[in-house]
């Protein structure tokens, strides 16, 4: 005999509720656990806005004929050329300049200036060009469509397009044919907790010490102290991009 009752069956409702809660916990818990475990690893903590990584390059110390930083960058990131300078990637390059009015000659290295307001990020249609919270400007090779608009927009000619097949890639910097790339400020090192870039290390090892790398937001860092004590400038400061790379004695 069935009891006609329009009241809901509380037992059933309870059962369903418990089941859903348990199932939810089973689904979510491993994720939370993994997230906690993953977060414990400094390499995956991600960028933090507490830092802004930058460089100071002393044009007086950049020595004639030296290519230590360029070579170090190439080997660090597996940038092997094909002997075709017009299309081979260059993340860092040495430039020799003569002042038009005074005749003063300078030498310096150019690379991505890691702007606070990067034009490459503004123009990128897919958002592949992006700036991390710690100021490093990168290209997401998974969503770069190779339109090269960022190369049109960059005032520093800091980017290269991968024009041909790649071999012997470095684990430090996965690259992609048909994508655009540029200086990463050795982000793989920074994410490991190191604070020395390949170019700075090489420049230091040659004894020139023209490159200082560090945290612009840390008032006690070597770079902050150096910027405080001496005159420096940004290249194309008129564009007001607030570059992370600064130059002294230029």
């Amino acid at each position: 005999m069935s009891v006609k009752n329009d009241q809901p069956d509380m037992n059933r409702r309870k059962f369903v509720g418990t089941t859903v809660a348990a199932a939810g916990a089973v689904v979510v818990a491993p994720g939370v656990l993994l997230h906690t475990v993953a977060g414990a690893d400094p390499e995956s903590q991600g960028a933090s806005a507490k830092h802004r990584w930058g460089m100071l390059i002393d044009a007086n110390k950049c020595a004639e004929g030296c290519s230590a930083c360029v070579d170090a960058c190439n080997s660090e990131h597996g940038l092997t050329g094909h002997g075709r300078p017009a299309t081979d990637a260059q993340w860092i390059r040495a430039v020799k300049l003569k002042d038009n009015s005074t005749g003063h000659i300078n030498r310096l290295v150019m690379m991505c200036q890691h702007c606070e307001h990067p034009p490459c990020v503004d123009v990128c249609p897919t958002g592949a060009s992006f700036k991390r919270t710690d100021g490093i400007v990168l290209v997401d090779r998974h969503i770069c469509i190779g339109c090269r608009y960022c190369m049109m927009a960059c005032p520093y000619k800091a980017r290269s397009f991968v024009h041909e097949d790649l071999e012997d890639q470095s684990v430090n910097a996965p690259r992609g044919k048909g994508c655009v790339e540029g200086c990463t400020m050795c982000v793989h090192r920074i994410d490991r907790g190191e604070t020395v870039t390949a170019c700075q290390e090489a420049c230091h090892d040659t004894g020139h010490g023209a490159i200082v790398f560090g945290d612009l937001k840390d008032p006690d860092s070597e770079i902050s102290q150096a910027l405080k004590s001496q005159n420096s400038r940004q290249i194309r400061a008129d564009l007001k991009l607030n570059t992370g790379v600064r130059y002294s004695n230029l």
């Binding site: 020799k96 123009v123 592949a128 190369m151």
Partner: protein, 400 residues
């Protein structure tokens, strides 16, 4: 005026139509082969480099995209501005606009470093990028012009004809503003970074689009053995004259403004005086072939109703327009970027301070021509499937 009948494009004999289609198909197939070759090997096999990052395919693509929005003008004049002489041409105008845009976009897509990531371009948007806006503007253009065509062809949709006509007109202005702003918003390079780029591209589109329209209209009516009256062509011709003059005017204002700004003297002397091939393209290509001679052909009483003169003028407007885009896109990149103002670059491994070298390669050229063939194929197929062309465009009053 007798009632206007529209009919699908039959070219007398099937052979005549299908031979034309086979020719276009061959050109498209070659272009696809060229694109595959470039993508497979990488862009080093083209004339492009890290200095000249946008090459001939971009010239073709931008040329076609700009012309596409202009080709719609004839339809807009018919519906927005109420020109009865233009109204029967509206359907073809819309079809041509869709075809040209598709042709341009195919070239643009196949020149990407990663054309296989089209889906990413369609799903990841950075709304600060004018390029991303353009993707939306292009997609929307297809939709709106498609609706416009439907409103023109389906009597039941006729009440939507005017509102859609207005929408299409404003959309096409937005689209060309977007295309011009690709360059107008580039602060880094001296040849660009000017708000006038957007209106200049709009007026360029009026001119190129109408020239494309006139040539394809004459060609289609010859191909299909149909009557095309002088009166209508004369109207189109006079309108083209106004647009050609306006393009010259904008070029003049653009360069005069730059000449006033000391900072831009370098890039101006590069384009106007000592830029070698780019200077020649500017004066001989853009100004003489694309401006002065067409104006003469259009306005000289000697060529009053001469159809060859109208066709020649239109063709020269297109050639001149191509050179104009070439000078803007490639000349603008070739001029060295001012990375170190006030300094001369003595040494650089990355070509700082030197004029960028660019020689277009054959595959780039084939891909670009393929874009035009794709546009024409779409027009030919569309005209065969839909009642786009009036059966006769003879002058009013000629028929009983």
């Amino acid at each position: 005026m007798s009632k206007m009948y529209y009919r699908e494009l039959y070219c007398g004999t099937p052979v005549r139509y299908w031979a034309g289609m086979a020719l276009l198909g061959t050109i498209v197939a070659i272009a696809l082969g060229a694109a595959f070759y470039m993508e497979h090997n990488g862009h080093w096999v083209t004339g492009m480099s890290n200095q000249i990052v946008w090459g001939l395919p971009h010239v073709f693509a931008i040329f076609l995209i700009v012309a596409a929005s202009g080709a719609l003008n004839v339809a807009s004049i018919g519906s927005v501005f109420g020109g009865p002489m233009y109204k029967p041409l509206g359907r073809f105008s819309s079809l041509l606009a869709i075809g040209l845009l598709a042709g341009g976009l195919v070239v643009l897509l196949l020149d990407l470093g990663r054309p296989d990531r089209l889906i990413i371009a369609m799903t990841y948007y950075n709304f600060k990028s004018i390029f991303a806006w353009n993707i939306i503007l292009y997609s929307g253009f297809f939709a709106i012009v498609g609706l416009y065509l439907w409103a023109m062809m389906d009597r039941k949709a006729n009440r939507y004809y005017r509102p859609i006509g207005f929408a299409a007109f404003f959309w096409r202005l937005a689209l060309t503003t977007g295309t011009g702003s690709i360059f107008g918003f580039l602060v880094a390079r001296e040849a660009y970074d000017a708000a006038i780029m957007a209106p200049m591209f709009i007026i360029m589109s009026f001119s190129y689009g109408l020239a494309f329209f006139i040539i394809t209209l004459i060609a289609a009516y010859m191909w299909g053995d149909r009557e095309l009256g002088d009166l209508r062509l004369a109207r189109l011709k006079n309108l083209l004259g106004v647009f050609v003059g306006a393009v010259l005017y904008f070029a003049l204002v653009f360069n005069l403004t730059n000449l006033y700004v000391t900072q831009h003297h370098g890039v101006e002397s590069f384009i106007l005086l000592n830029g070698g091939v780019y200077t020649a393209m500017f004066w001989i290509g853009q100004v003489l072939i694309g401006g002065v001679i067409p104006l003469f052909l259009i306005y000289s009483p000697a060529f009053d109703k001469a159809r060859w003169a109208i066709a020649a003028a239109s063709m020269m407007v297109l050639i001149g327009g191509f050179f104009q885009i070439y000078v803007i896109v490639i000349g603008g990149q070739a001029f060295p970027m001012s990375v170190f103002p006030g300094k001369e670059v003595l040494e650089s491994s990355f070509y700082d301070g030197t004029v960028g070298a660019y020689a277009p390669s054959l595959p780039e050229m084939l891909l670009g021509i393929g874009g035009i063939a794709i546009a024409m194929t779409m027009v030919a197929v569309g005209a065969r499937m839909f009642k786009v062309f009036p059966e006769s465009l003879e002058d009013p009053g000629e028929s009983a």
